[in-house]
């Protein structure tokens, strides 16, 4: 990679790349996001390459970032026709190469089949999961090999930086970001431009910009997919931000569990440095900036700004009181702008296409798009990017394809452990920062965990409190002790030992925790409990008064039995039962001894006749 000393050289380099690029040339892209890697896509990729070599062809196989449709991985697209294959297995590879790549024949069996119409769909953009998406930030993921800066450059990468450096003042950049109405994608939803302005005005050197990639919300993985799949978009956003506020140093704080993100970001930073896009006098301008990577230690609370600073400084990640804002005294008490990596990836778009264009997307106070991870009890698990303001119904039933096995939707949990559970009656809610907050949840980083009638809302509340108790740093007593106490009460309720007044006590403790905690972890810790009480009070009452778990989840409140009509006496459940609770003769209906049964679920999993009842 040659070093580019001015914006002209960058444009020249991009033009050269485009000239060398032949749009008619065959190209096979394969999703190498975490989900597809879990399905074994790397072996499929190797097989594709081997087969191409065997058939003596000149075709590039490109492992790209996440395509988003994780449910149907491994995903492969054949260019230039853009034929979209899903659930590709190694044995499909010879046909893909000899038929589709060589002759352009489409393999029907690998196409996506719309369950509604039962018709196959050839192109990715026509699949219902993708159709209504607006993949501004996430769209390039499927085209780029994240280890090659050229792939980003050819798509116009770093042009926004060039535009900012050659024709805009720092103040101009800030006013553009303000006008665009960009709000923080990490959870808080604070206006990015206001933050930047505050930091620009603050005194102190050096100034810092930080990309928060400590994605801790369980069920949210869009930041991971961005850092892994399109690291340069985050880096370019941060460089523009640094120029705007006058920062000379930056950090990307990456979650410990994301080793691939660290590798790709490290490579991206190195190649950006080689290209003159990071380091001294970026693109020849009187502006120097560089980025380091800081690996987290696996603490959820480090997603909080002041805890994150402590962690980068090499200390335990305990938040501090924020009487003075981070924009004035952040990392090492210097002016610091911390934005989520998705927020940073939005910045190049705003600069290159303009604030007016950006502000035309979304709702009145929530502009642009948001990436959500649609997971849980949903047919189409994956990452979607939609304009703010889309309804939950469109997302869950339109893109998500509804609930598996025809079960009934119960709730969608948004905002991670700080958010809440939204019931069916609010499915027409337009998703944006403010609407979610109004119904007692929040945007968070964009996790949407769908739950069906077999999910117990008291159990879900207990789950989040267990999570928060584990992750509370322990500094503020109301959070440390209050969350523990709430968890104990919920455990009692789930164990059938709940008492009248427990729900009111939970509400009472919630107020104390929210008021008495320094950071957002404690401040919003009661949300999962309060929202489930608000919308699913009858489930709490069923546990407390009737000692019954309507969803059939809480072990102490349920019993297993075998339906003699359905049981064929095959004996599988006897074999798998760890406590010898099942008995019966071969070919005769079995029975379960409830004194021995631990409700582990092994019999349900093994039964092929759906004969185990849970009540």
């Amino acid at each position: 990679m040659i070093k580019m000393n001015n914006t002209q050289a960058l444009r020249q380099f991009q033009d050269d790349l485009k000239r060398q690029y032949d749009p008619k040339k065959k190209l096979v892209t394969i999703c190498a996001g975490t989900g597809c890697r879990g399905y074994g896509c790397i072996k499929v990729k190797e097989e594709l390459e081997a087969e191409i070599k065997k058939q003596n062809m000149d075709v590039e196989v490109r492992a790209t970032g996440c395509f988003g449709f994780c449910e149907k991985g491994p995903l492969v697209i054949i260019h230039p026709e853009k034929i979209f294959y899903q659930q590709v297995k190694i044995k499909d590879v010879p046909d893909i190469i000899s038929k589709t790549v060589a002759q352009g024949d489409v393999l029907e069996k690998l196409l996506y089949r719309d369950p509604q119409t039962n018709e196959t769909v050839m192109k990715e953009e026509d699949v219902p999961f993708y159709k209504k998406q607006n993949r501004l930030v996430f769209g390039q993921n499927g085209l780029i090999d994240p280890t090659r800066i050229e792939d980003y450059l050819i798509l116009g990468g770093y042009s926004a930086l060039a535009k900012a450096l050659s024709g805009m003042t720092p103040e101009g950049v800030i006013s553009e970001v303000k006008k665009a109405g960009l709000r923080g994608r990490g959870g808080g939803g604070f206006l990015a431009g206001i933050k930047w302005e505050g930091s620009r005005r603050a005194h102190g050197e050096p100034k810092y910009v930080i990309g928060n990639g400590d994605e801790g919300d369980p069920g949210a993985y869009m930041d991971r997919s961005l850092m892994e799949g399109n690291p340069h978009s985050v880096i370019e956003g941060m460089i523009i931000g640094a120029y705007a506020i006058g920062a000379s140093e930056g950090y990307i704080y990456v979650r410990n569990e994301y080793p691939l993100a660290v590798i790709h970001l490290t490579m991206a930073i190195e190649s950006a440095r080689e290209a003159g896009l990071l380091g001294r006098n970026i693109l020849g301008a009187d502006f120097s900036f560089d980025i380091k990577i800081s690996k987290g230690g696996g603490a959820f609370v480090c997603g909080e700004s002041s805890a994150l600073f402590a962690s980068i400084e090499g200390r335990a990640g305990e938040p501090r009181a924020k009487y003075v804002h981070a924009v004035e005294k952040g990392l090492w008490d210097k002016p610091t702008v911390l934005n989520n990596v998705e927020t940073w990836a939005n910045v190049p778009l705003i600069i290159s296409k303009g604030a007016d264009w950006y502000a035309s997307i979304g709702t009145e106070n929530s502009k642009g798009t948001k990436i959500f991870s649609l997971v849980g009890k949903i047919n189409n698990t994956g990452l979607i990017e939609v304009p703010m303001g889309m309804t939950l119904r469109e997302i869950i039933y339109g893109m998500g394809g509804g609930i598996p096995k025809g079960r009934k939707f119960k709730a969608v949990q948004t905002g991670g452990p700080s958010g809440g559970c939204i019931p069916e009656s609010l499915l027409d809610l337009q998703v944006d920062f403010d609407r979610l907050y109004e119904v007692g949840s929040m945007m968070g980083s964009g996790g949407m965990i769908v739950m069906d009638d077999r999910s117990c809302m008291v159990d879900v509340a207990k789950y989040f409190l267990a999570f928060l108790q584990e992750e509370s740093c322990g500094k503020c007593v109301p959070c440390r002790e209050g969350v523990r106490r709430m968890r104990e009460i919920l455990e009692d309720i789930c164990a059938g030992k709940g008492e009248e007044g427990d729900v009111e006590l939970l509400e009472h403790i919630s107020t104390g925790i929210a008021d008495g905690s320094l950071c957002a972890l404690g401040g919003s810790a009661p949300n999962p409990v309060l929202s489930t009480i608000k919308y699913f009070r009858e489930e709490y009452d069923a546990h407390i008064r009737d000692h019954r778990c309507p969803a059939g989840v809480c072990k102490a409140l349920i019993t297993y039995s075998i339906d003699p009509e359905k049981c064929t006496g095959c004996g599988l459940c006897i074999k798998v039962c760890p406590t010898q609770a099942v008995s019966g003769e071969k070919k005769k209906a079995h029975t379960i001894n409830n004194d021995l049964c631990t409700r582990c679920g092994a019999c349900i999993e093994s039964c092929k006749f759906d004969a185990i009842n849970v009540k």
């Binding site: 569990e257 997971v375 582990c600």
Partner: protein, 159 residues
């Protein structure tokens, strides 16, 4: 297990690599854990001495972050994802099954040092839920029946 002198030597090399920079404490500990699979007591003391940080603070950081283990870990690390998506898809039943099969609880290592059981809050592979990551390999759509098979295979491989 490594000898005390080896631990001290390796630790000093790691500290040197990070130029003794106090803010690199977490990175230093991460490197040590990578080298020894856990944080030996001698290493923590050496880190404190070599970096000029009180041992109490080194210990504070080592115990604050989930990524660090003060006990030797097994040959295979079994990480059960207990993210929300995996939870609603039955991760706790899978966890129970691992506990029953390996006779250990999360955070523990079994007697012959073959397996450690750990929990992780979401590995970002929710489509595969419930997910278990063993060493670096992802096992998706886990069932209790699969647990026996996987553990059986690993035990065979270990022999």
């Amino acid at each position: 297990m490594s000898k005390v002198s080896d631990i001290k030597l390796k630790t000093k090399q790691i500290v040197k690599k990070h130029k003794g920079d106090k803010s690199a404490l977490i990175a230093v500990l991460q490197d040590i854990q990578e080298a020894f699979n856990y944080l030996p007591k001698e290493a923590l003391i050496t880190v404190g001495d070599a970096m000029g940080i009180p041992t109490s603070r080194v210990y504070e950081v080592a115990t604050f972050y989930n990524a660090f283990s003060l006990n030797p870990r097994g040959e295979h690390i079994v990480k059960i994802c207990v993210g929300t998506a995996c939870h609603v898809r039955g991760a706790s039943a899978i966890l129970d099954k691992f506990e029953r099969t390996l006779f250990i609880k999360p955070g523990e290592t079994n007697q012959d040092q073959k397996f450690s059981l750990e929990l992780v809050n979401c590995v970002g592979a929710c489509a595969l839920g419930p997910v278990v990551v063993i060493d670096t390999e992802y096992h998706g759509q886990m069932t209790m029946a699969k647990v026996d098979k996987i553990i059986g295979k690993l035990k065979e491989g270990a022999q």
